[in-house]
């Protein structure tokens, strides 16, 4: 049986600039796959490319891009739009601006069902009430009649999640769903996502830059850097034995209770994420990497470095622990 979402060698370019340079990952049913990386590394572009929502001028290529066993590479806009919102749904980073200010919450929620299932308005409203309750919104009847500007950021993101669930999707792509929210609200939203996944058997592709979130919710992690997945492993394995220098750098930036002593300096990675020029080859991280050598400019091997654990690095066993 095939995975829910399979991506192989996905590439996205804007004009001459490569934003995603051949990434591969899979999301199984009922699994949360986290895509981590700094801003600008191509995480969001990856998720938009999967949904077929790239901005004008964006070009997508892939050796394989399949959803529930169907090859969606050649789907035109019309067929994709039938899939989106119905079987695959997405929530975004910006809850404040992602809802249309001109329509009520109810109108925006019900139109998904009406579009994909042709559900009559009354039933669609019932479903909306049910889901608003499910995502922990009190007085859902009242909220349905309200406009987005009357809701707080946390409420809006809950509405977005409820809206994404209207048609019982199989895959949910969440692009930094908690970044714009308060820490307390963040925790609630994450707990909600985890619950929903357990109850509904959702496959979730969660995009984030926050390793704390990864540690809490992910089954599997892919670390992205400069348009490539540099390391991919089950969550526990990745945190226990990171192999790629970049992953290690990332992890050292996060204080872990018990491991880091009070007063120890936190790690940091010198430099910033580079813009990848056309025709670039080799490791994108080599200018910031303390293990870099001449061979890093050549083609890189993707190696199995542990159980279901891959890294993209010339170091055979990864970074010495």
């Amino acid at each position: 049986m095939s995975a829910l979402l399979e991506i192989d060698d996905l590439r996205v370019t804007f004009g001459g600039t490569a934003a995603v340079r051949g990434i591969s990952l899979t999301v199984e049913k009922g699994e949360t796959h986290c895509l981590v990386g700094e801003s600008g590394c191509g995480k969001s572009v990856t998720s938009l490319a999967v949904m077929g929502l790239l901005a004008k001028g964006g070009k997508r290529e892939a050796a394989r891009l399949s959803f529930a066993g169907e090859d969606i590479r050649e789907y035109d806009e019309k067929r994709m739009s039938r899939l989106r919102g119905d079987r695959m749904a997405m929530i975004f980073q910006e809850p404040m601006t992602s809802l249309n200010p001109a329509y009520t919450v109810g109108s925006q929620m019900t139109e998904v069902l009406r579009r994909h299932r042709g559900t009559p308005r009354a039933q669609a409203v019932d479903r909306a009430v049910e889901l608003l309750t499910r995502v922990g919104i009190t007085a859902p009847g009242l909220r349905l009649g309200q406009f987005p500007h009357q809701l707080s950021g946390g409420l809006r993101q809950r509405v977005m999640i409820a809206m994404a669930l209207m048609c019982d999707p199989e895959l949910l792509i969440a692009d930094e769903p908690t970044t714009a929210l308060d820490v307390t609200v963040q925790a609630q939203i994450l707990r909600l996502l985890a619950e929903l996944q357990k109850d509904l058997g959702l496959g979730i592709l969660l995009i984030t830059h926050d390793l704390g979130i990864v540690a809490r919710v992910a089954d599997r992690v892919s670390v992205m850097y400069a348009g490539e997945v540099v390391e991919s492993a089950p969550t526990a394995e990745l945190f226990r034995a990171p192999r790629h220098p970049y992953t290690r750098g990332l992890l050292s930036c996060v204080p872990v209770p018990g491991k880091v002593k009070r007063g120890d300096p936190l790690g940091s990675i010198p430099g910033v994420v580079p813009r990848i020029p056309p025709g670039f080859s080799g490791c994108g991280f080599r200018d910031r990497c303390s293990f870099a050598e001449a061979a890093c400019a050549g083609p890189l091997p993707r190696r199995d470095v542990g159980p279901a654990h891959e890294a993209l690095c010339i170091l055979p066993e990864g970074v010495p622990a």
Binding site: F14, G15, G40, S44, V45, K56
Partner: protein
């Protein structure tokens, strides 16, 4: 990420297109300015000399045309090309004089409002609102009509006194923005008098924005002058205003359409040129002044 999403090439193409518009606009305006300045040298005949024996001769390429009068003659036998050439003077002088008048009024009001704020600003905003509610063409016609016939200066004065609103709007908002900038605040703190700050810091910085408004208003003034003259309450005959030429030749238009086409096209091309120039200027500055 937003820079990544900008498709490369589109902005270049846009720039080329803008340049084409700018060159076309500058070419048209430059050419007509040249014609206006050197009208006496370029015009083949005296634009006022009539010859009732040679009336309504069509342009030379039409049947019955004559190579003596390239664009034909009007209803009084005056050479149409010569009148057209002198007509450029009327349009250009009125256009420029109007924006100077209205520019001074509007900029003064706008800068005062934007710089001092408070009650002064309220008054300026009120003046703009009141001005916008006055129907321009009607009032211009009424003033010209009631003061016993129109004249060249009357047209300039009336239009100048009526078309300052957009200058004021833009001067006000840009002054407000600039006033709050650090270096202007610094100059104020350093004890420069408000006058010095206005003249040295504010005016030079809003000048480019006002230049854009000036082109758009000039196009409007040229069109309004033509309309007023067409209605017989603008530039008085026998001056060769393009609007007046259309008005005077109106009776002949059903038999000889060219007689209104020639000055009409001249007017259209000039206004188009001025607008193209204004648009190019606006895009170069990257400001959106569409109110």
């Amino acid at each position: 990420m937003s820079t990544l999403l900008q498709p490369a090439g589109a902005s270049d193409r846009r720039r080329i297109w803008l340049n084409a518009g700018a060159i076309l606009g500058a070419g048209i305006v430059g050419f007509i300015t040249f014609v206006a300045i050197f009208a006496p040298l370029l015009a083949p005949y005296d634009p006022f000399a009539f010859d009732l024996g040679r009336r309504v001769i069509p342009p030379f390429w039409m049947e019955g045309g004559s190579p003596l009068n390239i664009l034909g003659t009007d209803q009084l036998g005056r050479d149409y090309l010569s009148r057209l050439i002198y007509g450029a003077r009327v349009s250009m002088i009125i256009g420029v004089a109007t924006i100077i008048t209205s520019g001074i009024i509007g900029t003064f009001l706008g800068v005062m409002g934007g710089f001092y704020g408070g009650k002064i600003d309220d008054a300026v905003v009120f003046a703009i609102t009141a001005r916008l509610s006055i129907p321009v063409v009607l009032v211009a016609l009424a003033v010209a009509g009631f003061s016993g016939g129109a004249s060249f200066t009357m047209v300039i004065l009336v239009l100048g006194l009526l078309l300052w609103d957009r200058f004021a709007v833009v001067a006000r908002s840009t002054t407000m923005q600039i006033r709050n900038l650090d270096y202007v605040a610094a100059a104020r703190c350093a004890g420069c008098s408000p006058m010095t700050v206005l003249l040295k810091e504010v005016l030079p910085n809003i000048a480019t924005h006002l230049a854009v408004v000036a082109t758009l208003e000039m196009a409007l003034a040229i069109l309004l002058e033509a309309a007023l003259s067409f209605l017989g309450l603008g530039v008085p005959p026998p001056a060769p205003s393009w609007g007046l030429m259309i008005s005077e030749a109106k009776e002949y238009m059903f038999f000889s359409p060219w007689i209104i086409m020639i000055p009409g096209i001249a007017l259209f091309v000039l206004v188009l040129g001025v607008n193209l120039l204004g648009d190019a200027l606006r895009d170069m500055l990257g400001t959106d002044l569409s109110r």
